[in-house]
Every structure is written in structure tokens, then in C-alpha cells.
């Protein structure tokens, strides 16, 4: 029983309750970092780490947090984890840290993290909260990666900085710029809702 509930907690953010294409959360970072696969991977790892651990931490504290100041406490915990990500990147992956620049700090403002903490972690035990946060991070990750692959391939002719398309390919600059992010995200949301989600709602 408990196991099947945990399983459901894990699967929901990946599919019918996906933070990006269902809840449309975390869109700013979705548009900002997806023009290169490499940046996207680091960003999504950072978000997954932060979402999972903040949800877990807040869930541990949930019975003691005064409800009037809960948002301040949540922000504080989330910010602490984001700063940890930033410090670790800066010390151990300096090249990556340099490339991502201000984006790492902006993980704090990713609505998915606050959203999961408010909607789930405050009312659930630590383990399910951890699973929910982690799965939300994964749900965010795979959508962003699909966008990033399309954008980098069309915009730079490469994936992970490795040239895939030959010199005959003319880069679509628009794919690298923010509008490209809007287009690809919109197309992905449309395709998923028209195909997979439609079947689910009929069933």
C-alpha cells in the first residue's frame, strides 16, 4: 500500500502532473538555459538537487514551522541549498560555473521548488516529500533536455558542443535566442497534450 503510494508520488510529476508542461512552472529557466545542452544538464541537476533536499528539509520541520512565517523559512532553506550548489560548482567545476554565470543563483526563484514545498512537503512525511521533490526535478529535467537538444541542434548545429550537422547547415540564430525557447516549448506542450495526455483523459 505504502509502496504503491510512493510509486504514484514518483510517477505523477513525470507525467500527468509534470511541473513544466502541465503546471507551466519554472518557465523562466526553461527559456533561459535551454540553448545549450551542457548548461541545461547542470541547471537541471541543480534544480533536482535543490527541489529534493528542500522538500525533505521542510518536511522534517513541518510540525514546528509557525504558519505565518513559513514562506520565509522555505525561502531561507531553498536559498541555502542553492548557495551550496553555487559554491560546489565554483570550487570543483569552475568552467561550468563560469558558463552558467547568474543562472545558478536564479535557481532560488524557480517556482517548482517553492511550489512542491508548499503543495506537498508541508503536509507529507519526509520520505514521500523527498521522492516528490526528486521526481519533480526529473520531470523538469527531461522536458528541458528535449528542448535543449532541439535548440542547440538547430541553433548551433551541435549537441553538447560537438558538431553534428555539417558545414552545409546554416544556424538558426533565433533558436539560440529567447524566442526559440518559446517556440520549442510551445510545440512540445502542444504535442504532449494532443497525443499522450489526450489518450489519458479519454481512458
Amino acid at each position: 500500500m505504502a509502496k504503491s503510494k510512493l510509486r504514484k508520488t514518483f510517477l505523477e510529476p513525470l507525467g500527468k502532473n509534470n511541473p513544466v508542461f502541465v503546471q507551466i512552472l519554472g518557465i523562466c529557466s526553461t527559456l533561459a538555459v535551454t540553448n545549450k545542452v551542457q548548461n541545461t544538464v547542470v541547471m537541471t541537476l541543480g534544480v533536482t538537487f535543490t527541489t529534493a533536499l528542500s522538500a525533505w528539509t521542510i518536511s522534517l520541520m513541518r510540525n514546528h514551522i509557525p504558519s505565518r512565517i513559513r514562506m520565509m523559512v522555505e525561502t531561507m532553506v531553498i536559498a541555502a541549498f542553492v548557495i551550496i550548489v553555487d559554491i560546489v560548482l565554483k570550487a570543483y567545476y569552475p568552467e561550468m560555473w563560469k558558463q552558467l554565470g547568474p543562472y545558478v543563483g536564479l535557481i532560488i526563484t524557480n517556482c517548482i521548488i517553492m511550489g512542491r514545498v508548499e503543495a506537498f512537503a508541508l503536509n507529507n512525511k519526509p520520505l514521500p516529500s523527498l521522492v516528490d521533490g526528486f521526481a519533480s526535478g526529473l520531470g523538469y529535467t527531461y522536458v528541458l533536455l528535449s528542448i535543449a537538444v532541439v535548440r542547440e541542434l538547430l541553433g548551433s548545429g551541435s549537441i553538447w558542443g560537438i558538431r553534428i550537422l555539417g558545414s552545409w547547415w546554416t544556424n538558426w540564430s533565433i533558436m539560440i535566442m529567447p524566442p526559440g525557447g518559446f517556440f520549442v516549448l510551445a510545440i512540445i506542450i502542444w504535442v504532449i497534450r494532443e497525443t499522450i495526455m489526450k489518450e489519458e483523459s479519454h481512458a
Binding site: K36, M76, A80, I83, I87, V88, A91, P94, S173, M177
Partner: protein
């Protein structure tokens, strides 16, 4: 009694709770910061030194140790600039900063003995658009300045032919312009920094 209790519950407890949370978070993050500080500073220094080596067009292995070794063997630190001597004569490397599209672009420029001919350009830090303006960090772009003299003329990507022409970056016209302006200041800055004029 009950009034006091709710005063504690409504006013004091949240205050204490927030205070404790804040202190714990600050201790954790600042502890980690101090623990990794040496490493972070070493990385920073390594980036600058690599840029100096690249600007001087000297060979090095791209690891922290490789950069350190090459730097100590070949670079002399002067007042506000750097020099490298070898069979090629002396090269002068000067740091330079200027505005970019989003933030400051900071570069190292290597010059020959005439203080005119570029031996190389390397980016120390920049905040241009990733995938567009940030491509000024790519090797093909910085390598174009080698052996040429400022001021440069930016032409469409892939069409540079004359000795003063360099390829601009498609989709990053503004960044390319800023970079051109920055490099145009090099001869005057070199005179000022090195000759003190």
C-alpha cells in the same frame, strides 16, 4: 496566562524560529564557502593565468598544474602588465576591460615588441548571451586577431580576407561591435601601461 501564552506563540516563537533557521543556514553555507575558498581562488587565478598564456600565444597543457608550470616558466609579472621572452623576442601582455552588451568584458591582449601586432587575445570574463555573444570565447574567434594590428574591421561571419578584417559573430552584432571597440583601444592602452605615456 492565556494571553501571555499566545503572545509567546504568535510573536516570540516565530521570531526565535526564524533566527535559528537563519543562523543554521548561514553557518552551513559560510562554512562550506570557507572550506572551498582556497580552491575557488586558485581556480580564479588559474583562469587569469591561462588567459595570459593564451594571449602570449605560448604552449601549455590545459590542466591546473600545466597552466601553473607554463606560467612560472615563461611569464614575468611587471607593474600592471606581463612579459614573456623567448626565441620570438619579447611579448607584452596587458589586461583590458570594456563594456559588453550585458556586462563588462575583461580580456588579456598579447602584443609583439612594436606594441602594435597582436600575438593573441583571450577572454578573462564576460557576461554575453550564451550561444551568441558568448561565442567570443570560442577559439576560432580569438585566434583571428593573431598577427594583426588594431583597429579591426568586423565583417560578416566567414568572409574575412584583408589583413585588418575579422569575422564578426552572426546574431551577436552588438557584442562584436563592443569587442571591436575594446580591441581598438589596445595600442593606446599599451603605450600608457608599458611606456607610462
Amino acid at each position: 496566562m492565556s494571553v501571555q501564552r499566545s503572545f509567546y506563540k504568535d510573536r516570540i516563537y516565530p521570531l526565535i524560529f526564524m533566527l535559528i533557521t537563519t543562523v543554521v543556514c548561514i553557518l552551513l553555507t559560510s562554512g562550506l564557502h570557507l572550506y572551498t575558498l582556497d580552491r575557488a581562488q586558485a581556480n580564479e587565478l588559474s583562469f587569469t593565468r591561462r588567459a595570459i598564456l593564451e594571449a602570449a600565444d605560448l604552449p601549455f597543457t590545459n590542466t591546473t598544474e600545466g597552466i601553473e608550470r607554463a606560467y612560472h616558466e615563461q611569464i614575468t609579472e611587471m607593474d600592471g602588465y606581463y612579459t614573456a621572452s623567448g626565441s620570438f623576442g619579447t611579448r607584452y601582455i596587458i589586461p583590458l576591460e570594456g563594456p559588453g552588451l550585458w556586462g563588462t568584458i575583461s580580456i588579456m591582449v598579447g602584443l609583439g615588441e612594436d606594441l602594435q601586432t597582436f600575438s593573441g587575445v583571450a577572454i578573462v570574463s564576460q557576461n554575453e548571451t550564451p550561444g551568441l555573444g558568448a561565442r567570443i570565447e570560442e577559439k576560432w574567434f580569438t585566434a583571428q586577431f593573431k598577427g594583426k594590428r588594431a583597429p579591426f574591421i568586423m565583417v560578416e561571419e566567414g568572409t574575412a580576407s584583408a589583413s585588418q578584417e575579422v569575422d564578426a559573430i552572426t546574431g551577436a552584432t552588438r557584442t562584436s561591435e563592443y569587442f571591436k571597440n575594446l580591441t581598438a583601444r589596445v595600442p593606446a592602452e599599451a603605450q600608457r601601461i608599458i611606456r607610462g605615456e
